[in-house]
Symmetry: C2
Subunit: 548 residues, 2 copies
Amino acid sequence: MQTPGVPAPNHVPLTPLSLLDWAVTVYPRKTAVIYGDQRMDYAQYDARCRRLAAALVRRGLKPGQTVAAMLPNIPPMLEAHFGVPMAGGILNTINIRLDARTIAFILDHGEAKVLLTDTAFAPVIREALSLVKHKPLVVDIHDALGPGGDALGDVDYETLLAEGEPDFRWQWPASEMDTISLNYTSGTTGNPKGVLYHHRGAHQGAFSNIIACQMGQQPTYLWTLPMFHCNGWRFPWTLPAVAGTSVCLRAVDPAEIFYLLEAEKVTHFCGAPLVLNMLCNAPEANTLNLKQPVTAYVGGAAPPSSVIGALENIGIHVVHLYGLTETYGPSHYCAWQSEWDALDADARAEQTARQGVRYLTIEDSMVADPDTMEPVPMDGQTLGEIMVRGNSVMSGYLKNPDATEEAFRGGWYHTGDLAVWHADGYLEIKDRAKDIIISGGENISTIEVEDILYRHPAVLEAAVVSAPSERWGETPCAFVTLKSGKEDTTADEIIAWCKDNLAGFKVPRHIIFGELPKTSTGKIQKFVLRDQASDLDDSKVAHRSSKG
Amino acid sequence: MQTPGVPAPNHVPLTPLSLLDWAVTVYPRKTAVIYGDQRMDYAQYDARCRRLAAALVRRGLKPGQTVAAMLPNIPPMLEAHFGVPMAGGILNTINIRLDARTIAFILDHGEAKVLLTDTAFAPVIREALSLVKHKPLVVDIHDALGPGGDALGDVDYETLLAEGEPDFRWQWPASEMDTISLNYTSGTTGNPKGVLYHHRGAHQGAFSNIIACQMGQQPTYLWTLPMFHCNGWRFPWTLPAVAGTSVCLRAVDPAEIFYLLEAEKVTHFCGAPLVLNMLCNAPEANTLNLKQPVTAYVGGAAPPSSVIGALENIGIHVVHLYGLTETYGPSHYCAWQSEWDALDADARAEQTARQGVRYLTIEDSMVADPDTMEPVPMDGQTLGEIMVRGNSVMSGYLKNPDATEEAFRGGWYHTGDLAVWHADGYLEIKDRAKDIIISGGENISTIEVEDILYRHPAVLEAAVVSAPSERWGETPCAFVTLKSGKEDTTADEIIAWCKDNLAGFKVPRHIIFGELPKTSTGKIQKFVLRDQASDLDDSKVAHRSSKG
């Protein structure tokens, strides 16, 4: 139907850029971004994104080149999500908690031509820039609400924006499979891998957020989840499609979060279980007075039912999500079934602790044997690996065809997460493939043991890894952080608790108390614990403690 | 990334089939379809669609072949929306009010291999089948809630379904640009044109309904809008994506509609202005007791503010939509702006009577000069043609490359509707291109004159066409139906009303009372009126009346 040289009237590349274009057309005066006292409507937001795009093009950015961003959840980070692809560029958000060596690796590997950086990160960025092979154009962002810091750059962000026109006519991507962003996985070992997102997946993933998270029209979204994490689970692109308002948040602080929930009438926020935990335990929780329904989407491990219950009591509904960097963030969510209404709190928690069912834009998902690719029976028992296929799956890993091929073998993305498949089609993660413990020929799910540990009233955090055993090959070893005021709990008490609640072979032979080592994103570094556990010998030591 | 022969893990053709697949995976026990006392959950619904697909394949249907359906809004019509494309077929729904000659034309032109037909339509279908060049396999549907009728067919629908497996493994379309359905336009003259929809557009259009119409999760949708009209504005495909319930309705009957709104807790329905009018004027409206919010989406001409007000009073919120067969139904809607909350009813009606802004999956829209393709100024004054581009625009017209090229010239779909563009980006239709009246060199919008006529308290319906004039070239001629109890209103009273509200040259020279001729979809047949008006001569006749 298409005349050469004339755009098709009925086929437009899918891109989240179209969603901002829609919002500024229909709701130019609607508040798009709130940050402290600052308010930006969609017309202003769109104009700043276009200025950024125009300025990047003037500074020589070519389509397909990378712009890195070392930014907290402040307005320029939102602007980068549109301004960089409007210039044809690829946005590479960097985890702000990384060390200089890793940042330098990412800048070099991603071939960043430009780096947008908040002056608060000047020390680590200065060091990283001293290590890179190719120095990008450095753009300093001076955030009035930040702690300040040295300018390292070639140009200040506002000066750069002034170089671009507010009505810059950006080009649609030539293909919807073009890359829109680059996200490095926070691997616990080795160099991070660069996950490539395409425009089509970002667009479809933005739509599926609206549907799964029931965003309605004109929601208000609080930025408790870092945007450097899987592009904020696609929400920077989702919000314009529903004329939503972004409430920026430089750092996670319970008092500030509670204030914003009330003052800005927030309807949705996302976060790691850690954030929910902080909210639960904050003194402000007792005086919170919400006038609007609020839903919190929590990724990672299922929050304990006590946390969910405490939040529901103050008016925050919790929904459990699951996903990976490779699936643009959440690929599964624990969709509510009406028959759960009748369950008591514990039975309900058993349902909602599961990772659930696929999003609409993950067109297929299964729990399968990774060798035969045969789905496991839906018996809630048989372990298999979670596999997904669909339009919100990454293009692949940057410059890493082997890893890409390995991840995509058999036409499915292999998540590396081990799960069972329940009769109702809900999947439940039992472990990372590499975290399983094989003891006397029996598989032990470290997650199952951790679940029991978490239910002990004195346990704040727990991680289980394998320790070598002469007799059994491996045995479980538990690392535990006790709650404040419960420090006198003994290893024997914990062991006894486990014996009451677990099969004997699953009971940890070692309980080691202390703080848990974590990655910059708050993931527990099990490889550190495995190192520690590898020195243990169950023939000699029963229960060691690092306490005191 | 794709190994030959292995499906891509990250690119799946977009198709509404995936939406039913999602619903049956996540909500197998949720009620999908209600019809009278009949209830079908998603597992049953999906199984029947698969049976239909499997049976069609067994009967020899090949990918890309057409299955026609002459059905009211009953469950088999919903099943056809999935079962036919699951077999790789193209669904061609036929307007049940068409005459035998037109139906025969459609069956031949669309090369239907199968015809699903309700026995109620046996007389017209028998005649149509006597006229076709190639007789399709005829499948009779005996609807227990229908009036009955002769079986004409080769096989009964339930017998056909029994030939197919409930777990038939349907194939995804090879390309998302493959045709999913064929809809003939109800042109007022000449042979209808066959509009081709692709899987991608149907999928994206289904998503955009969820967002624009705020379907939330698990809505209940009442089938007041015929599914033969642009595939029910995409709603058969939309509903599974939100685990919604379809309430079928064989015929539009206000008492039945009011009963279902209450009994089935309907949340959404669509329809022509005529349907809203019927509801307003039905005696049951006074006793309606809705416990849930209900939104009615109305296409075509804007309903008068009195109708909107009456419906709002009984708890039905009205949203105005605009679209064409070529845009899969609605392409624009009158999105609410919060500042309208403060307006009085008349000022508000002035805003909401406009056709509004584009859906998310119409990626661009403009009001432009069709010759130069330059957008008109956003002044609310300058007439231009509405043009759209996007992923929910038809593939083209079947076997009609000339008409397709004409419709798509310059890379835009030309709607043929004339509109002004307001400063806020909302467009407002003033006329069909061919309905404009040129009087003494001045353009007269027939819609503007009709709007004034509709505001007269005695006017039920009005249509304005051009009448020949020796002096002016053309003059407006009004055809008017008076409300019951107001039949003694005179042409002079109407003329005086128009003089008070319109520029002199826009005042109709003729007022002709009587019923208005309509197409099978309820569109006023202006060509019939134009025929009548062409006999008039303004030098002789001032105000004729066909009354009495």
